[in-house]
């Protein structure tokens, strides 16, 4: 919980990782990809305040103690949702797989929610694994990483018929929150790999599922915003928006937030630190303190207040994941509830 000016903010970090990208975990023959990947992530950390930068060795593999301190002691987080990314062609035991992440859940009850993942290219074996993960960890969400390389394939899309089979299975198992992540992505090679039209189709076909588009479709915010106005079950995951822009490019940050507030609305924006890329502390403090800069270019964006920030930092995600929020962190009765899906269709034109 974060407290500021007498207001208490319940914090759900809805997108974070517990990874091992150390050289010992690099797949022989794929070292250049494993190294290139983690160095790419590390460069993103440079967009944060300098006093939160880590040396590459720590960034490749941080300890459980470090994570617990950064999130819960220093970072105000109440509940963290682990989002797996496998990348097993590059990292022998996976970059951060469901089991590694879930080891935290079992050791620290109440602090974590473990999401699983699936990959439609895994077919029957993938369906069985999804069932096993849900049975073991009670997963209510899954992370889609469509850019994963697998046996010569450089990626997949939610339009694939096989993906529909997994979405049906997710719905059946109560895995209702589908976090979609598009980058850094390279496939299909001859088209725009960041295109979000596949999410649009899936969201229409599976209205009972929620689709949280991580880092709001960056670098295609405009496509994401257009899609999100038309799909009541599409949410904006703020990971990367806050971490990558708030400190490094504050004016662009304000504009991106303004666009999201206009097209998607504060009831459908969820905070995620993307830890270990960025520590949550400065992001949470900064977001609570944030407002639009002065200037005409920001004047017609929707305004934010304490209630908006409470929703973004925790209440919206708590609703998606059925997390109990202490009464002291709830919105006052007259501020209204975070929107249910069907309210959101009114947002935007």
């Amino acid at each position: 919980m974060y407290e500021k000016d007498g207001e208490k903010y319940f914090v759900v970090d809805s997108h974070m990782h517990y990874w091992d990208a150390s050289p010992a975990n690099w797949v022989p023959g794929a070292e250049q990809y494993a190294k290139g990947w983690i160095e790419c992530f590390h460069a993103y950390q440079s967009l944060a305040p300098a006093n939160t930068h880590w040396p590459i060795e720590k960034f490749q593999k941080y300890s459980e103690e470090t994570l617990m301190k950064d999130l819960f002691e220093d970072g105000y987080v109440d509940v963290a949702i682990t989002q797996p990314t496998y990348l097993r062609e590059w990292y022998s035991s996976g970059f951060n797989d469901t089991d590694r992440n879930a080891s935290l859940v079992e050791k620290h009850p109440g602090k974590f929610i473990a999401n699983t993942r699936w990959d439609p290219r895994e077919g029957d074996a993938g369906i069985k694994q999804l069932e096993a993960d849900v049975a073991r960890y009670g997963c209510k969400g899954a992370k889609m990483y469509t850019a994963e390389w697998r046996e010569g394939s450089r990626g997949w899309t939610l339009k694939d018929p096989e993906a529909f089979r997994f979405l049906e299975k997710s719905q059946e198992l109560g895995v209702k929150n589908i976090h979609v992540h598009k980058g850094p992505t390279i496939w299909p090679l001859d088209k725009d790999a960041f295109d979000v039209s596949d999410v649009d189709q899936a969201a229409t076909k599976f209205p009972e599922l929620n689709f949280i588009v991580e880092h709001v479709g960056l670098p295609r915010i405009e496509d994401f915003c257009f899609m999100a106005t038309q799909e009541p079950n599409v949410y904006a995951g703020l990971s990367v928006v806050v971490g990558g822009l708030m400190h490094a490019r504050p004016r662009f940050f304000a504009k991106v937030m303004g666009e999201l507030l206009f097209w998607v609305g504060e009831d459908k924006m969820t905070f995620g630190s993307d830890y270990g890329i960025w520590e949550p502390r400065w992001q949470i403090e900064g977001l609570v303190a944030w407002d639009f800069p002065d200037g005409d270019e920001f004047s017609d964006y929707p305004r934010v207040n304490v209630a908006s920030k409470k929703k973004m930092l925790g209440l919206n995600a708590a609703k998606l994941y059925d997390i109990e929020v202490p009464a002291e962190c709830q919105l006052p009765a007259d501020a209204g509830e975070p929107a249910a899906q069907d309210d959101a269709v009114l947002v935007g034109p």
Binding site: Q32, Y33, G36, W37, E39, C40, A43, Y44, S46, L47, R154, P184, T185, I186, W187, P188, L189, D190, K191, D192, A193, F194, L218, P219, R220, I221, E222, C225, F226, G244, L245, A248, R249, F252, K255, V256, G258, E259, F262, W263, D296, E297, P349
Partner: protein, 236 residues
């Protein structure tokens, strides 16, 4: 000496016409040109670098291929040697461009189409973003919706943003003459009706914000990735 310097500056000027298709900015202003030299026998050596190891290979291919074409056309250049560095697909891209093989052949089995459709999609985004760049100052200066839809390109005060918008429209075959409307649908080229204008301008703005934010992140990542190299370059 003076001769060599002149040729190098002509090569750099040529590289200035090469754009990152996704960001609609020149590779020189983005800092993507790591080095550029010309040998006595007219061989241009250009090293290109990108913000990350995993930057999209299709856009990277277009930049390397465009740089090859632009530099090859410079008078006094006998051969253009364009090398993309530090990228997961450097080998395929560099070899493919050098052999003039095209994208499909360079990524055999992985790509079906050449990249002109992709390029056009992003020029269209540049038209959207450019519409915001040109219209926003007019609105700030008091132009109402009726004024904007009545304006023709030839009656807008000259600016770099206006030139850029017209160039992008012309590239797509959209109306770009003095008598053509300032505000058009970037898909069809048709004029925009007054009742559609507010949403049209909103869409133009969100497109510009997206491109600008993306450019901001790319600049930050490039700066971090090549910090030591950039510091050396400054002392030269």
């Amino acid at each position: 000496m003076t001769q060599a310097v002149t040729v190098v500056s002509r090569v750099l000027d040529a590289l200035g016409t090469v754009r990152d298709p996704e960001l609609d900015e020149s590779v020189t202003s983005l800092g993507f040109v790591g080095s550029c030299t010309v040998s006595d026998d007219g061989v241009a050596q250009v090293r290109l670098r990108l913000p990350t190891y995993f930057c999209a290979p299709n856009f990277a291919f277009l930049m390397v291929a465009d740089a090859y074409d632009a530099v090859s056309a410079v008078p006094g250049i006998s051969r253009a040697d364009i090398v993309l560095e530090d990228h997961f697909a450097s080998t395929e891209i560099n070899d493919g461009v050098a052999a003039r093989s095209g994208f499909v052949q360079s990524f055999s089995g992985e790509a079906v189409d050449e990249l002109e459709n992709l390029r056009a999609d992003f020029v269209r985004k540049a038209v959207w973003a450019g519409t915001d760049r040109v219209c926003r100052p007019l609105i700030a200066a008091g132009s109402a919706g009726e004024d904007l839809i009545a304006l023709t390109l030839g009656r807008v005060a000259p600016s770099a943003d206006l030139d850029r918008l017209r160039a992008r429209r012309a590239q797509l075959g959209l109306p770009a003459g003095d008598d053509d409307p300032l505000v058009i649908d970037p898909a069809s080229g048709a004029a925009v009706a007054l009742e559609s204008l507010p949403l049209h301008l909103r869409r133009a703005r969100v497109t510009r914000v997206g491109v600008d934010a993306n450019t901001g992140i790319c600049r930050g990542l490039l700066q971090e990735r090549y910090r030591p190299v950039a510091a050396e370059g400054e002392t030269r």
